[in-house]
């Protein structure tokens, strides 16, 4: 009888946990595996003009070894420094990836040292038998823990990457510039397909469906998007417009103060750049022209502002998504 009770608890638990809880990201069985280099890689490419428009000068980056600090047991790459360096180096001339630091003769541009690690790794569902997951079952108002094996090939992997930038001039970590983003990789049983979901305050790809070509590709995506966020925090550009994440109001406040102090040409450049992110037909310019004027008026009308070409901080904040 005891066996039967245990069996029923396990069965109910299995149904509740495995059957009733859908994975966060669903991928259709017939879905084609696409190359991941789509809008994520575009986000990385957009950093170069963003730094030029909002920061105006290049930034140097020195990357310390970035390793797996989790008990992944060899399931993750031990060192992802190369992936991180590649991401920084692929941005363009406004990001100088340094291979050495000479503090006696530092470069003229601002530079930062990046410290980081893979800080979290969880494998929530795995194929095969054994005690792979745990749950709770209730029978006759008695709660008890049950362990059960799952004969299922889907698996959900979670991993997090953290970056902590340091300012070598002060010897301190840069305040409010650390990033920590998590990725959930859902491997479907059919056809070795993957779906990913990236979770983090600065990255808004939660529950979005993207097909990647495996865990290593997912690490690449997470690194690339974390790089976009990290550089945004360091050089104060509106990175959330590229990563679709939450608005960073500290950066909005900084950008708004800067905007008021900008010369007219710079203001026009920023406004036209932000409009061009929404409408690719708009050219980035530092001189007012009739098409930009019309684009500003159209934008203002669409957002409940007076129909004029006045370059106000209200317009700017609206374009920043704040």
């Amino acid at each position: 009888m005891k066996k039967l009770i245990k069996l029923s608890v396990v069965t109910v638990g299995l149904l509740l946990i495995a059957g009733c809880t859908p994975p966060k990201v669903e991928l259709s069985e017939s879905g084609k595996i696409n190359d991941i280099k789509t809008d994520y890689t575009q986000a990385l490419r957009n950093i170069n003009p963003m730094i030029a428009v909002f920061n105006g000068s290049p930034v140097g980056i020195y990357i310390k070894p970035i390793a797996d600090r989790t008990a992944s047991g060899g399931k993750l790459p031990r060192d992802i420094s190369t992936v991180v360096k590649k991401s920084f180096n692929s941005i363009g001339e406004n990001v100088k990836t340094m291979f050495t630091i000479n503090l006696k003769n530092p470069p003229k541009y601002r530079f930062y040292i990046i410290e980081g690690a893979i800080t979290e790794f969880d494998l929530l569902k795995v194929s095969g038998s054994g005690r792979d997951a745990a749950g709770q079952g209730t029978y006759n108002n008695q709660k008890g823990s049950v362990d059960f094996g799952m004969d299922q090939e889907d698996k959900l992997t979670k991993l997090a990457i953290t970056f902590n930038p340091q300012d070598p001039r002060t010897g301190n970590y840069v305040p409010n510039a650390s990033t920590s983003n998590r990725i959930e990789v859902n491997q479907k049983s059919a056809g070795n397909e993957f779906a990913i979901s990236i979770l983090g305050s600065g990255i808004g790809l939660d529950n979005s469906v993207t097909k990647a070509q495996g865990l290593h590709s997912s690490i690449n995506i997470l690194v690339e998007l974390s790089v976009v966020e990290l550089l945004g925090k360091l050089t104060k550009y509106p990175y959330w417009l590229l990563t679709r994440g939450n608005v960073d109001y500290d950066i909005v406040a900084h950008l708004s103060r800067q905007f008021l102090r900008d010369k007219l040409n710079k203001k026009i450049q920023k406004v036209s750049y932000l409009l061009s992110l929404r409408n690719t037909n708009i050219q980035v310019t530092s001189m007012m022209n009739s098409s930009l004027k019309q684009a500003i008026i159209d934008y203002k009308v669409a957002h409940g502002m007076p129909a004029n070409d006045i370059i106000s901080s209200t317009l700017y904040k609206s374009l920043l998504g704040a």
Binding site: L4, S8, T11, V12, R261, L264, M305, D309, I310
Partner: protein, 193 residues
């Protein structure tokens, strides 16, 4: 007997879960509903030249050369003294004629705060010194900078008398309730030889 009862309960609970689903929580797939978001309400308050009556004079700083030769490029500094607002640069000649130097068709009105060089930082227009009086040794020109918290809707109707109300006073007294902190005015005078 007991075993039978228990197996019945298990079968019943399994059947319930299978039929109802996850505690009956499953909802039918919702079709996405398009909602027309109302446009955000943005205040459209504007100032008018009538508000210049109570403007604070001398509260923004203009400085530069005091004498220009004819056709020489005019250039001066504008410092809003930490105040933010929409800036207008207005020219006033000896005859009481006014002209709006900034904003103009190429250089839109903008909200600002800080130190600027006019006209370099306002779209790069070129303004040269001219003298209209014939035979006179030099002609005086005054340039006013008006910094308003809100855009001035009827700035094109600005007349010399609207600017003369400061009567050249360059200070505002503390506790002067008549003055309007939303509009600040500064001026610079120079001569064209």
């Amino acid at each position: 007997m007991k075993v039978k009862k228990i197996s019945q309960i298990v079968t019943l609970s399994l059947a319930t879960i299978l039929i109802i689903g996850c505690g009956g929580k499953k909802e039918p797939t919702k079709q996405p509903v398009k909602v027309n978001k109302p446009a955000p309400v943005v205040s459209n308050t504007q100032a008018s030249i009538a508000d210049l009556k109570s403007a604070r004079f001398g509260t923004i700083e203009l400085d530069g050369k005091k004498t220009y030769a004819q056709n020489q490029t005019i250039r001066f500094n504008v410092d809003t003294k930490g105040k933010s607002g929409f800036l207008y640069i207005v020219y006033l000649d000896d005859k009481g004629e006014t002209a709006l130097l900034y904003p103009n068709a190429k250089s839109p009105l903008s909200e600002l705060n800080g130190k600027y060089v006019f006209p370099r930082d306002f779209g790069g227009m070129q303004i040269t010194a001219t003298k209209e009086c014939k035979g006179c040794q030099k002609e005086r020109t005054t340039v006013y900078a008006i910094l308003s918290k809100e855009p001035i809707s009827d700035i094109k109707n600005l007349k010399a008398m609207n600017l003369m109300q400061g009567k050249g006073l360059s200070m505002s007294l503390a506790g002067d309730t008549a003055s309007n902190a939303n509009i600040n005015i500064g001026k610079i005078e120079f001569f064209v030889k």
